[in-house]
């Protein structure tokens, strides 16, 4: 049977045209430039700015050079930091906290809900320069709000940016980004027919059982969407730079910051482009994993249902 189409190809093309032009100019063109340049030794300054040479895979090979791979401030160490950062701040932090917040929202009074939502979303929407500065004041060793609280509780003040810089940016990014996951899961829960939960209530199910057995399976699609987006965003997030500049001793130099340093401080575009391409490949692999997990589970369920 021929599928009934709401839009003819011609109208669809018309609808797609403005987006296609913008994407073509500002996504595809730069994208292919980056791919191309990643195979050259092009720089902005110095001799290779005028006469860049085609160097094949040299940029990639150098990034993975075992002699320097694990050295602080090199690609490999940055890759490891970034992976941990994504796992902890996006998957554990933002997604889990977002899920928890969204679930709590279903059960609490509207007044409290508005307050919590406003705070969480506020962390998400305020401009990054403002946020960076607010956290700087928050963590200030001598006078910051956090150490004021620590002292008030009789705890020793912490030199967080120096002693635990990595955990600072993990918590910072969780704080900054949890809102998106919360909102997405909020609407996911809202789309579940209330009758499902009422039936469970009658059966005397606990909140945890309702969450695990009813809500979670139904929002799997949302979880996949959420993971794809926040993983990608967290891989590219640059805001921690405002707090730590990647330091001390490169301990918080995420790939995005490393890439910025290579491309815009050392002006090595070839190498910077190669880093960009690798980040994309990692994102691609992760997206495929999420999708396949989402698919496998729903298939298993369908089989179980029949």
């Amino acid at each position: 049977m021929k599928q009934f189409s709401l839009l003819s190809r011609r109208v669809a093309a018309l609808f797609l045209a403005p987006g296609a032009i913008l994407v073509g100019l500002f996504i595809l063109l730069p994208f292919f430039w980056v791919i191309f340049v990643s195979f050259t030794n092009r720089t902005l300054l110095g001799r290779t700015a005028l006469n860049p040479e085609f160097v094949g895979l040299q940029n990639y090979v150098r990034l993975f050079d075992p002699a320097t791979f694990f050295t602080r401030g090199q690609f490999g160490s940055s890759l490891i930091i970034t992976t941990e950062f994504v796992l902890l701040s996006a998957l554990v932090g933002q997604a889990l906290l977002g899920l928890l917040l969204a679930w709590l929202m279903q059960a609490i009074r509207p007044g409290l809900k508005r307050f919590v939502e406003a705070m969480v979303i506020g962390a998400w929407i305020l401009p990054e320069v403002v946020i960076g500065f607010a956290w700087f004041a928050f963590l200030d060793y001598d006078n910051g709000t956090l150490n004021m609280i620590m002292r008030g509780l009789g705890l020793p003040p912490g030199d967080f940016l120096l002693q635990q810089p990595f955990w600072v940016i993990v918590i910072f990014n969780t704080w900054r980004g949890a809102a998106f996951s919360m909102m997405l899961f909020n609407s996911a829960f809202a789309s579940i027919p209330p009758s499902y939960f009422q039936a469970a209530d009658v059966a005397g199910a606990s909140s945890w059982q309702k969450f695990r057995d009813i809500a979670l399976p139904l929002i799997r699609g949302h979880v996949v969407t959420d993971l794809i987006l926040i993983t990608m965003w967290t891989f590219n997030v640059f805001t921690p730079f405002l707090l730590t500049h990647g330091g001390p001793a490169y301990r918080t130099e995420l790939l995005s910051i490393y890439n910025y340093r290579v491309a815009f401080r050392d002006f090595e575009f070839g190498k910077g482009a190669a880093v960009g391409v690798i980040i994309m490949l990692i994102n691609l692999v992760l997206a495929l994993i999420y999708l396949s997990i989402g698919r496998r589970k729903s298939k298993a369920e369908k089989e179980a249902a029949t």
Partner: protein, 274 residues
Amino acid sequence: MSGGAFLSRIGFSVLAALLGVLFALPLIWFIFAPFNARAEMGLALPDPWTLSNFATVFQNSFAVRALFNSLIQSVGGVILIGAAATLAAYALSRSTIPGKSAVTYVLLLFSSVVSGSAAMVPIFLIISAMGLIDTQLAVILVFAGGLLPTAMFILRDFIDGIPKSYEESAMVAGASPLQAFFDVALPVIRPGIVVIVVWAFVNIWGSFLIPFILLRSSEQMPASVAIYSFYSEAGTPIVTLLAAYALIYSLPVVLLYLFVSWRFGFRFFGGIKA
């Protein structure tokens, strides 16, 4: 309600309130510092409360104009993204173009490369070739292009979640595809568009790197760049002025949030169809 459920409800409320307070902590400083003529990094109640910091900030014509520039760039970008993403996402959701489901993913991945700093150079070169360096339009276009894939991704997800039967019945009743889109689909998609609009506005409003790379003259710079004029000669923030300016600079996104949550509520639909 059973006793256990009541207790768990109390527990939920306490936990939620605690999380809300934790989220608020880093921002509390911002409620007081702008109104304190002697504000420092430490948290302190202004004594007395004063608007003098704001008065000084408003004397800086560069910084004031920058707020207006931010508005032009954000609103311009949002209109372009909203329109282009809605049309494209609708077409991808409702047409039978082959490979359409792969397109959004591929674009999303590409955009992750282009949002990195490596792509700033080609973007600069393209804008330069178009003769648009140092224009607000350049910033608007680059943001529209860069944010479009994600906007399409979210919006397509949303539209996929809306039954086709809405438009189908309209078309059975004799509406053209365009009429079906504008009169039937658009009102239903609107909450999704609102999410995109807020997301895009917030992104453009806060962004530093792209306007910084593409703009030159002081008259064109947005607030994210102008905020640097509140750093001292030594490069340290002039805390009082910076706090006041940051508050003014944050106001539009806060108002936008209040407006949207009052008028529409934040809603997402869909989820990946596995």
